[in-house]
Subunit: 427 residues, 2 copies
């Protein structure tokens, strides 16, 4: 008998029929003898609909009120799910983030969890009942007001609760079969990964893989919570995100790390080039101070070699395209004191990232990457690396070709019949 | 400067445009120098839609979960209203029933308020902000779970909050201009009442007038909260529900009580006749024990004179038609021990009630009532009275005629141009 935290996203509870399907799944886990705690997101598009209502009322909703509004979404889904489970003869009770003891700071709209004290959840489980917990929300103890955790917040709620309850596993149910070696919409031969380490998953999430948000993986790594990413539409095993040392085979022996876990891609970034910057100490620092001061996070940076004749250089960096207007206006405002000639803005870039813990011990990965891209006639505009990741910026319209070329070059293509992987039938 | 509690019902906040209209009204009261606390219901049909969702999931939703579900409705309307007020440059914060200190018992679905400790509301008002409070909901302090107050619960929240805050007035905004001498849909010449006493309003509410629910008026009477029932679609004065001794004219002199306040009607009752009951002591008591044991409240009772030849009598009583099936099956089950011959069920009855505090000191009211009905050829089937009310049961299809005849006989018809009363223009 295990203690399992299950998390179901909005698409898994989009309507009454879906809620009943999830209820059946929860009841089966309970009847199999497990203790079950369920974290649930708002139904389908509820959150977007509530945001739309707020925008109809005011262009600038106060964030405290926005959080109160949005938390209504999980209140609806959690109580309906508790009812549906109860209807199957299994006792279930629902709890808000506050009732479940999810304590956050006071950053409305993007609050961080600072503590989880799930005494009511423990009591509920101890009584043999299923506890349903609203994802995405917590309480700011200073004012006793509700907060929301921002995008992907329900995953974070699930992992934080699993850590606090010392759960055996945190199952994240989604609409795909797990974590793939690349996005299957771009690479039809992408393989579902059976296991991936926290570090690799972190790099994947930071590089554009959508299946789990970064902070959820960070939380799982910090508290060593095994996360099982799987489909709510099938019963097959998904991907286990776990400690690297625990990547073992079915006989429990530690397996050799595969060199490469996967290829991630990201189309959400843009590139700003600051043209004609005087090549004197402190100018680059000044540029990034201005950008940081505007609250914009930058990703990759390239400084060109300066032309000896002019003493001027160009500095390029990437940033979320949604921050583009913000960053360019901040830089333009400081053009006099920075002293650059012009700004170029380019949102037609793509980023490819190759991720694998095995890179640490296997030289030659970057050479193989660059040669694969070169053979596919794809130009590399920027490069950045971490210990277990290499990222390159390409033209946006070459990105899909680049991902496919790299996926093949590193022998990641599946040899299995993909119809089985995507057909929704068990195996 | 006064402290005003304003309550807006679901039809007043049915969509974003309505919410903005209410926000304007609240902001005007605030700018006029008043302290304002607003109680708000769920938007339009939200509550019905949530109930419908629950019924899609299970035929028997656990009441605790139902209450959690339904309270999402006011969470949405209250935060949107706070945003809309904020957008007009007036600071506003929204609070759940729990945050507003509305403490109830644990009767989920029909909880009773046992205490109101609105410290957060007082602080908010003291800071010069408008406090928006979710109607219809509270918290059961034993378990820290939310509860709902049942039908008309938001009115009760408003009056309870006004009592706890010692507000100068509790304004109940609705879609009619106030309390009328009869339902204007039946009696086009019905007059809007400027004032009515708590006792009369209680009898009106208990006799089928829909404008305020019974428990709200009971609460107002107990704590002596002046209630101003008025339209959210106009600025004209509505009806002040207040202590009888305070019914004064515009110069502040106590006015002579009008004999009759109004005529109420009720189509929601049914009549059960228990035929052939042995006319021996204890049989009537046994019948009403059985009915009460089934959780059914009865209203009027008539026992016929027994026929000397048989020693049998008939007992008729009225009850809410929604409890009809329940009561008849309970009685049928006990037919052997009660020993009656048959049950007759009749849901084609109507009840007319004439209400007026002046009845106490004016004899002849019932004679005038019966003669008016007789002249209109309307048969009276049952009669009951209180100190300030006379009710009669008629055929359902004579009820409208009966209401009109009585309204005219007691000279309640308005002589004003009704277009002014209903036209939506100020006066």
């Amino acid at each position: 008998m295990a203690l399992i935290v299950q998390k179901y996203g909005g698409s898994s509870v989009a309507d009454a029929a879906s809620i009943k399907r999830v209820a059946k799944r929860v009841a089966e886990a309970k009847r199999a003898g497990h203790d079950v705690v369920v974290v649930v997101s708002a139904m389908g598009d509820t959150t977007d609909e509530l945001i739309d209502l707020a925008n109809q009322v005011t262009p600038l909703p106060p964030q405290r009120e926005m959080d109160i509004l949005l938390t209504a979404g999980e209140r609806i889904s959690m109580s309906l799910l508790a009812m549906a489970i109860h209807n199957l003869g299994v006792d279930a009770k629902s709890f808000t983030g506050q009732q479940a003891g999810v304590i956050t700071d006071e950053s409305y709209g993007k609050a961080r969890i600072i503590d989880v004290s799930p005494s009511r959840i423990k009591d509920t489980v101890a009584r043999g009942e299923v506890a349903i917990v609203a994802g995405f929300q917590g309480v700011n103890p200073t004012t006793n007001d509700v907060t929301t955790l921002g995008r992907g917040g329900s995953d974070t709620t699930a992992v934080a609760l699993a850590a606090a309850l010392k759960a055996d596993v945190c199952e994240i149910y989604t609409d795909v079969d797990g974590v793939f070696s690349a996005d299957p919409r771009i690479v039809p031969t992408a393989r579902k990964l059976d296991r991936i380490s926290y570090d690799e998953m972190l790099e994947m999430a930071a590089s554009g893989a959508k299946v789990l948000v970064l902070r959820c993986v960070e939380y799982a790594r910090r508290y060593d919570v095994p996360v099982h990413v799987r489909s709510s539409f099938s019963t097959r095993t998904g991907t286990l995100v776990t400690n690297e040392a625990l990547v073992t085979n079915e006989e429990g022996e530690q397996m050799e790390q595969p060199i490469i876990a996967g290829v991630a891609h990201d189309r959400s970034e843009a590139k700003i080039t600051v043209v004609g910057v005087p090549d004197v100490p402190g100018k680059a620092a000044r540029i990034f101070e201005v950008v940081a001061g505007a609250g914009v996070n930058i990703d990759m940076i390239v400084q060109n070699v300066s032309a000896a004749s002019t003493g001027l250089t160009d500095i390029s960096f990437t940033l979320p395209a949604t921050d583009g207007a913000h960053a360019t206006s901040a830089l333009t405002e400081h053009q006099p004191d920075i002293g650059f000639t012009a700004l170029q803005y380019d949102d037609t870039i793509g980023k490819l990232s190759l991720i694998g813990a095995g890179m640490r011990s296997h030289p030659g990965v970057s050479a193989r990457l660059f040669s694969a891209l070169s053979e596919a006639n794809i130009n590399i505009e920027m490069i950045s690396t971490s210990e277990i990741r290499i990222s390159v910026v390409t033209r946006a319209d070459s990105l899909d070709d680049a991902v496919r070329a790299v996926h093949t070059a590193f022998e990641l293509d599946s040899t299995e019949d993909q119809a089985v992987v995507y057909g929704g039938t068990g195996r």
